[in-house]
Symmetry: C2
Subunit: 487 residues, 2 copies
C-alpha cells in the first residue's frame, strides 16, 4: 500500500518473517490494556502486550485512581448510599452527551457490579467508606466520592444522586497503586509483555483483515502476528499537539495536558489507517480545580460579560468544559469576606475591592454588569434560592460582606487540565467500525483510543472504568475469534 503514508497498514504478503506471534496482541499496557490482557489470558488465549514505555501503567498510573462504578456496589451500600443500574444509566445518558452511545452506556451500567467484583478478585481493594468532598480522589484511603455533579442540577432531577467514583484503598492519588495491582494480576497469567516496544503500524491481509502489528524495538522493526486479533489500548491524543489542534482546536488552548507522552494518538491513527472511523474528536475533558473544599461553591462564577453561566456546585469538569469551549476561557469566582477561602491548590482572590462596582472595573467587565448579576443573585440568595442556575440551597449565601474578591479562573490564571475524549468508533464488544458501520475484522479497541461512555460530557472515574470494562470486552471478542481463520 501507499508508501507515502505512515498509517496505512503493511500488507501481510510483504512480511518476510514473524518475529513474534500470539493469539491476541494488545497495544498499550495501561488500564485498558492490562485488563484486556488479563481477560484474554484467563480465557486461555496466548497474549502478547506491546508497551512503548519501559514499564506498564500508562496515564492511569499518574491518575487519581477514581473508577466510576455503580448500581449498588458493596462500597455504596455499606457507606449508606442507595443506587441502582437504572439511575446510573439515566445519569450517564444525561451527563455524557450530546451524542452518547446508548448501547455502550447500557453495557457499562449493566456490567458495573461485576466489574467491581472483578477488581476485588484481581487484588484491587476498596475501603467501604464515603469521603464528603466531591470532584477528585480523597487525600485519605477512603473510597467513594461524588465525581460528576450527580447531586447538582439538572442531574439531581434526572436521576437519584449517588456517589460512584471508587478509589482503591491507598492514601491520596491511587492510580499508581491501582496499576501496580493490575500489572501484578497480569503477571500471574501467562501474558507476555514486550516493553520498550512501540507499535507503529498494523498489518492486514489481502482482504483488509488485521493480522498483526509492526513495532519498533530499540530501533529495529519487528513483525508481530496476531492469530485472533489486535486490541488497541494506546491512550488518547492530548500529547500530540498537531492532532489536538487539527481535531480539537478549542481543547488545544488548555494549559495543562493530562497524559503521558504515549497519548500521542498513535493508536487512533493506526486504526484510522486500517479504515476505522473516529468520532467526537473535538471533545475533551477540561477541569478547573476550583474545589475542594466544597465551600468554594458558595462563590459566584461569572464570565467575561459579568454574567453567571452555570451552577457553581456542579462538577468542576463541567465548569471547565463550558469555560473553555463556550466562555473563551474567561471566568472569575466572586467571593465576599464571609465566603473567602484559599482552595486546596492555592487559588485565591487575586483582586479585592470594597464594592462590586470597583471589582467589575478592576476585572475589565462592562460597567454595571457584575453589579446587576450580584444584585439578582443576592436578592434570590436572601431567600435561599437560585431560580436562574439552580444551585443547591446549602451552597447559597448572599455575598454582601465587603471586601469582595475575584478568584482568577481564566485560562491565563488557572489550571485548565485537559485530555481528549474522541477516538475510534467501536461497538460495546470492542469491534472497530468503519464510517459505513462495517467492522474492521481482526481489530479491537478500548480506553481513550476510542470514543467511550463520555461522548462529550465527563465525570471523574469514567475513563478508568470505561477502559477496564471495554478493555475486557474487547479482549473477550478477540479471544473468541476463530483461530488462524485468516492471514
Amino acid at each position: 500500500m501507499s508508501s507515502n503514508s505512515s498509517i496505512v497498514p503493511c500488507a501481510s504478503g510483504s512480511v518476510e518473517r514473524w518475529d513474534h506471534e500470539a493469539d491476541v496482541v494488545v497495544v498499550g499496557f495501561g488500564c485498558a490494556g492490562s485488563c484486556a490482557a488479563i481477560e484474554a489470558a484467563e480465557l486461555g488465549a496466548d497474549v502478547l502486550v506491546l508497551e512503548r514505555a519501559s514499564g506498564g501503567g500508562g496515564t492511569a498510573a499518574n491518575s487519581g485512581g477514581l473508577i466510576y462504578l455503580g448500581g449498588g456496589t458493596p462500597v455504596q451500600r455499606e457507606s449508606g448510599f442507595e443506587d441502582d443500574t437504572e439511575e446510573m444509566y439515566k445519569f450517564l445518558m444525561a451527563a455524557c452527551g450530546p451524542g452518547v452511545d446508548a448501547d455502550k452506556i447500557r453495557v457499562f451500567c449493566d456490567g458495573s457490579l461485576e466489574q467491581f467484583r472483578w477488581l476485588e478478585e484481581h487484588g484491587v481493594p476498596f475501603k467501604r467508606t464515603f469521603y464528603p468532598e466531591p470532584g477528585k480522589e480523597p487525600p485519605t484511603d477512603d473510597c467513594l466520592v461524588y465525581s460528576g455533579g450527580e447531586e447538582a442540577w439538572p442531574f439531581n432531577e434526572i436521576a437519584r444522586p449517588a456517589p460512584r467514583a471508587h478509589k482503591p484503598r491507598a492514601p491520596g492519588a491511587a492510580g499508581g497503586f491501582l496499576m501496580q495491582k493490575l500489572l501484578t494480576a497480569a503477571s500471574r497469567t501467562a501474558t507476555k509483555v514486550l516493553e520498550d516496544t512501540r507499535a507503529e503500524r498494523l498489518i492486514t491481509d489481502g482482504d483488509g483483515v488485521v493480522v498483526g502489528v509492526v513495532a519498533r524495538q530499540t530501533g529495529d522493526l519487528r513483525c508481530i502476528r496476531a492469530r485472533r486479533g489486535v486490541v488497541l489500548t494506546a491512550g488518547g491524543f492530548i500529547s500530540n499537539r498537531e492532532m489536538t489542534r487539527r481535531y480539537a482546536p478549542q481543547l488545544a488552548r488548555a494549559n495543562w495536558r493530562v497524559g503521558t507522552d504515549g497519548d500521542d494518538g498513535s493508536g487512533i491513527l493506526m486504526g484510522m489507517g486500517a479504515g476505522a472511523d473516529a468520532i467526537r474528536m473535538e471533545a475533551g475533558s477540561v477541569s478547573i480545580p476550583i474545589y475542594p473544599p466544597k465551600e468554594m461553591k458558595k462563590g459566584v462564577l461569572v464570565n467575561g460579560h459579568g454574567q453567571r453561566f452555570i451552577n457553581e456546585d456542579t462538577y468542576y469538569g463541567r465548569i471547565g468544559q463550558r469555560a473553555l469551549y463556550e466562555q473563551d476561557g474567561r471566568c472569575w469566582l466572586i467571593v465576599d469576606a464571609e465566603t473567602y477561602l484559599v482552595n486546596e491548590v492555592g487559588m485565591q482572590a487575586a483582586v479585592v475591592e470594597e464594592s462590586f462596582t470597583e471589582l467589575e472595573a478592576k476585572l475589565g467587565l462592562a460597567e454595571g454588569s457584575l453589579v446587576a448579576t450580584m444584585d439578582l443573585y443576592n436578592g434570590h440568595a436572601r431567600r435561599g434560592v437560585d431560580p436562574v442556575f439552580h444551585k443547591k440551597a446549602e451552597m447559597i449565601v448572599p455575598l454582601d460582606e465587603p471586601p469582595y474578591g475575584a478568584i482568577d479562573c481564566t485560562l491565563k490564571g488557572a489550571v485548565y487540565a485537559a485530555f481528549t475524549l474522541g477516538g475510534l468508533r467501536t461497538r460495546p464488544s470492542g469491534e472497530v467500525l468503519r464510517p459505513d458501520g462495517s467492522v474492521v475484522e481482526g481489530l479491537y479497541a478500548a480506553g481513550r483510543t476510542t470514543s467511550g461512555v463520555s461522548a462529550w460530557g465527563y465525570a471523574s472515574g469514567v475513563s478508568l472504568a470505561d477502559g477496564m470494562l471495554f478493555g475486557r470486552l474487547a479482549a473477550r471478542s478477540a479471544a473468541a475469534r476463530s483461530k488462524g481463520s485468516r492471514g
Copy 2:
C-alpha cells in the same frame, strides 16, 4: 477488499471492463463540480461528470446565490466600498474559526478578484450595486450585501468592514440563475455529463491510488476509469440523518435542513473509505432568519436564563450557531411598542405583556432575570452604548415603551436552517489527505464534501465561493497529474 464494507474501494484488478473513461472524473454537478469541470476542460483535459440527479445544479441551485468575494471587486468599488485582500483575510481568519485553515483562507482571498473575473467571463453577470439589508440575498437584482457580521463587533475592530456577498444579476434568490449560467458554460466545453448516475465507490490500484469510480446507472453498475484523477464535489451530509447524528449530534437537532437528497455524505464516505481524513465533522452553519428588516436588531435577544448572549446586530448565522450549540435552542427577541415589527418571514411577538416581570413569568424565565437584563440594557441604551455586547449605536434604543413582546426564536418556534461544514481534509490544491497528512493519490475534493474556508464560523456566500474556487483548483491539480501514470 473487505466485502462487508460499502465504502472500501474496489480493486482495479477486479474490474472486468471499463464502461467509461476520462482524464478527470468529477462526482457531482453542483457549484463546485461545474466549476471543476469547466476548469479541467479548458485546460484540455477530457472530463466526465457523474451526477446522481436528472440534471446539474445541486444544492447551489436552491440557494440564494450569494458568493463571498472581496479584495476590491468592481462591484465593491463601483458601489463605494473600499476593500482589500488583507482585510478580507483578517475577517475570515477571525470569523471562520476556531480551527481555521490559514493556507486555505490565504488562497481563497488571494484568488478572489480573479474568481470574480472568471465568473463574469463565464457568463455570470453582477450589477454594480449595494443593497442595504444584510444577511441574505436581496429581493431585487442588486448585488452586494453584508453577510457575515463584518460591520458588527468584534469583527469591525479586527478588519475594516466591507460587504462581500455578491449576488448574480437576477431578482431574489439567484442560485438557480447562477447554476444555469455555470451549466451553460460547462456545456460549451467538451465536458461529458452522465446524469442519473450515482457514484458509489472509488476504485484503487494495488498501491491505494484512486484510478476510477463505480457508479450506478438505472440499476446497473458501471466502472469508470479516471486516467488522471477523481474530483469529489458531492455536497455535505445534512440529508443523512444517521451521519448527522453520529458526527454532529447538536446540529442534528436543527429543524430545517438546507440541502438536497444528494447531501447524503456519500462523497465524504467514499473519500474516507479510500483512507481520507475528515475534520470539523461536528460543525454546521445554523441560521435563524431574524432579519430583514435590520431594525429587528434593535430588539434584545435573551437566552433561557433571561440573559443576553450575543450582540443582536451580528450575522444571524452566528446567532443561530450560538443558540443551537450553546443555548440549547432557547432564546427570545424582546421588543417594545416602539421597536415592534413583523419580520420578513413573519416572525412576530408571540407573547405580549405590560411589564418585563409579567413577560419573564410568561416565558418561564427565572423571577427577576429578564428584569435585571433589561434594566442593565436600558440604562446603557439611554446613553447610546452597549458595553456588555458591543451592539452598534445605531441599533441601540431603550426598550421602555410598553407593551413588551417576545419573539419566539426557540427551536420549537423558529426556523433553524442548518447544513454541515465538516468534510474531507484537503490541501488548497484539492489534494485529499489521510490522518497522517499523506496524500491519497489520484483523489481530489472541493465544496461541502470538504472542510473549507468556514472551519466553524460561517458567513453567507462562503460555500458557493469556496466550492467554485477550490473546485477549480482541484480540477487543475487533477488535470495536471501525469496521464495514465497508474492503474
